[in-house]
């Protein structure tokens, strides 16, 4: 390592005796910064774009690109296959409804959240980088909002891209334009809410622990177990022909919450046993409220979490 003393002396730079000519080039001295200082919104945007790119491994090592890209591929491949089938067998409708696609591929979405939510927040906690963020002219809400928005956007890309493929394919197969556009729009609405919900839950769990592996495991466990529990009890209820209960049980797991919401509000066909979605308007409203409530609660929990961690 060269001597710092030689490098930064300001003023007319006759090279010190014996110094090579390249040393002269370095003697520029300290320059003040007179340029613009963009405010909080710019900082938020920078953090947002850095986190979004990090969710797909862009700007990081090659190893961290592998899993997100594989998952993205796994998410889109079925859509491509479906499009091919539709086009080449001249089907009159897509094999799968736009709103059903995410429900079918929930495992892929869960894996994506499980691996990328910790990637986003656990690292800052583990390496204690958060004080450096908060010693800058941003507030806590900027950090939380940027991270939340970034992961939600990443999930949106993951879930909306296949829908886009289906849409384009449907148009190529000359299916009815109005139908397909309506279906596509409904799918997008559903997927926006899904992204917000999954991102919120994933981030809250990941922000609890600085250890990444733990966060990954906990997220997988929460999503899988909640879905498993809900669907088995729904199965039991179905065998008892207790359809109302099936509808209400869907509130207790993230993917079924989305499913119930879209059944009631977007006219989608329910993925619950016996296709029994929310039994009445009241239940439908509850689905909406719980959905929005969980997203808001996750945001609030994240804000609380970062209040404690601000400056160590």
């Amino acid at each position: 390592m060269t001597q710092p003393d030689v490098a930064a002396v300001p003023g007319p730079p006759p090279a010190a005796p014996g110094a090579s000519p390249t040393d002269v080039i370095h003697n520029i001295g300290y320059r003040e910064y007179e340029g613009p200082r963009l405010g909080r919104a710019y900082a938020r945007k920078s953090l947002f774009s850095q986190s979004l790119r990090g969710a797909y491994g862009l700007g990081r090592s090659a190893k961290s690109k592998v899993l997100p890209m594989i998952l993205l591929g796994a998410m889109c491949a079925p859509a491509l296959i479906m499009v091919a089938v539709t086009v080449f067998t001249h089907m009159t409708h897509l094999p799968v409804a736009y709103t059903r696609y995410a429900v079918i591929l929930q495992a892929v979405i869960t894996l994506f959240v499980a691996s990328q939510a910790p990637q986003s927040v656990s690292r800052d906690l583990r390496f204690k980088t958060t004080p450096l963020y908060f010693s800058r002219p941003i507030e806590r809400i900027d950090y939380v909002a940027a991270k939340f928005a970034a992961l939600a956007t990443a999930l949106f890309l993951l879930t909306a891209l296949p829908l886009l493929i289906l849409y384009v394919g449907a148009l190529l197969a000359k299916l009815d334009f109005g139908d397909q556009t309506a279906g596509f729009a409904k799918g997008l609405v559903s997927v926006v809410l899904l992204s917000l919900l999954f991102a919120g839950i994933g981030l809250v769990i990941a922000a609890v622990t600085p250890r990444r592996g733990f966060g990954v495991a906990a997220i997988i466990a929460v999503f899988v177990i909640s879905y498993g529990a809900v669907s088995s009890v729904q199965g039991v209820a179905a065998s008892q022909e207790n359809y109302d209960v099936i509808g209400w049980l869907g509130l207790f797991s993230p993917i079924t919450l989305i499913d119930g919401f879209q059944t009631w509000f977007l006219g989608a066909q329910s993925a619950f046993p016996e296709a029994s979605g929310p039994p009445n308007a009241g239940a439908g409203l509850v689905y909406l409220l719980i959905l929005l409530g969980v997203v808001a609660a996750c945001f609030g929990l994240l804000m609380r979490r970062y209040r404690k961690v601000g400056l160590s």
Partner: protein, 330 residues
């Protein structure tokens, strides 16, 4: 012009009082903030950055109120934390660029300033490697760089020499000194190593238990005393007797003899006495005060004053601990 001004600043937690009516003015330059662990240094920094509200009192940084203009203050101030805070899989350049952008610098400016700042702190080729492989010295430099990259007017450095070997400490202290002299940025350095602060700072603020112990310029602290330390290779008692007989006030302190300097002739007297005895003179130096003396018992100081018998040691009235007393270190 003061860089930091606090007025009766207090921060109380349920069980502990971190800061207790702290009133201090910090002027431009390098200021050392001294205090034992838990004395309130980190709390003070948090309040100055506008991240933690004070329970009582006010504080202004660069003329801005910490209670209302926190974000603006953070835009003009750089902070270097004490603990490890660097992710190991990112390179220094990438990290500092990101931090620069978080401070509001546009992308191109961020990259240019990063390159400049990393060069100024002394990181060259290694800046492109992931930070996991850096030595402690390099990591401290990166931390300093991210505090400087947005051209702040003031930087707060929390224990910057933590974990560095002696050579590294010297380099870091030199760097800190240059931040003020060459870059024109005021510096507030916290430490509990008094010796290095004596060397680097223009002013010193001493906190103990949340209260201000003393605040003045370094030169005032380390004033020369009117006493001479003499160390000889043998026969100290004989020398003591001789000097006593010659009319000097002498006191033994360990193997040193402390001679009160009556006038310029004292030096000659001592030299002659030593030569007469035929012993070797290992040291004859004018004693300077150390900041550490502030933390010794008050009784020790009064003992010295008594022994000195009026031949003034410290400007004693100013030297002893006074609570809540803010001295303008001009």
């Amino acid at each position: 012009m003061t860089v930091i001004a606090t007025e009766s600043l207090s921060k109380r937690y349920p069980r502990v009082t971190a800061l207790d009516r702290l009133t201090v003015d910090v002027t431009p330059g390098v200021t050392g903030l001294v205090g034992a662990n838990g004395a309130g240094k980190s709390t003070l920094i948090k309040i100055l950055l506008g991240l933690s509200p004070a329970t009582e009192g006010r504080a202004r940084v660069l003329g801005l109120d910490v209670a209302t203009d926190g974000a603006e203050i953070r835009g003009l101030v750089g902070y270097m934390p004490e603990h490890d805070c660097l992710p190991p899989d990112v390179s220094a350049t990438e990290f500092v660029v990101h931090m620069a952008r978080m401070s509001g610098l546009p992308p191109t400016a961020a990259r240019e300033r990063t390159a400049d700042t990393l060069r100024h702190v002394g990181l060259y080729e290694e800046r492109y490697r992931p930070m996991g492989g850096y030595s402690t010295g390099m990591k401290q430099r990166v931390k300093l760089a991210q505090a400087l990259v947005h051209d702040p007017k003031l930087v707060l450095l929390d224990e910057p020499t933590n974990g560095l070997d002696p050579a590294g400490r010297d380099e870091m202290l030199g760097l800190i000194r240059r931040v003020h002299t060459d870059f024109g940025i005021s510096v507030l350095v916290t430490s509990h190593l008094l010796g290095e602060l004596e060397r680097t700072s223009d002013h010193i603020v001493v906190i103990d238990g949340g209260k201000l112990l003393r605040a003045s310029s370094t030169s005032e602290f380390t004033q020369a005393t009117a006493s001479l330390a003499v160390e000889v290779t043998d026969r100290e008692h004989d020398l003591l007797a001789m000097l006593d007989a010659a009319g000097l006030t002498v006191q033994a302190s360990g193997h040193l003899l402390l001679v009160d300097i009556a006038d310029d002739g004292t030096y000659d007297l001592v030299r002659d006495a030593v030569a007469q005895l035929g012993v070797g003179l290992a040291r004859m130096e004018q004693r300077r005060h150390r900041i550490a003396e502030l933390f010794t018992d008050e009784t020790d100081e009064t003992d010295e004053t008594d022994a000195g018998d009026g031949a003034g040691t410290t400007p004693a009235a100013a030297g002893t601990a006074q609570e809540g007393d803010g001295r303008d270190a001009a």
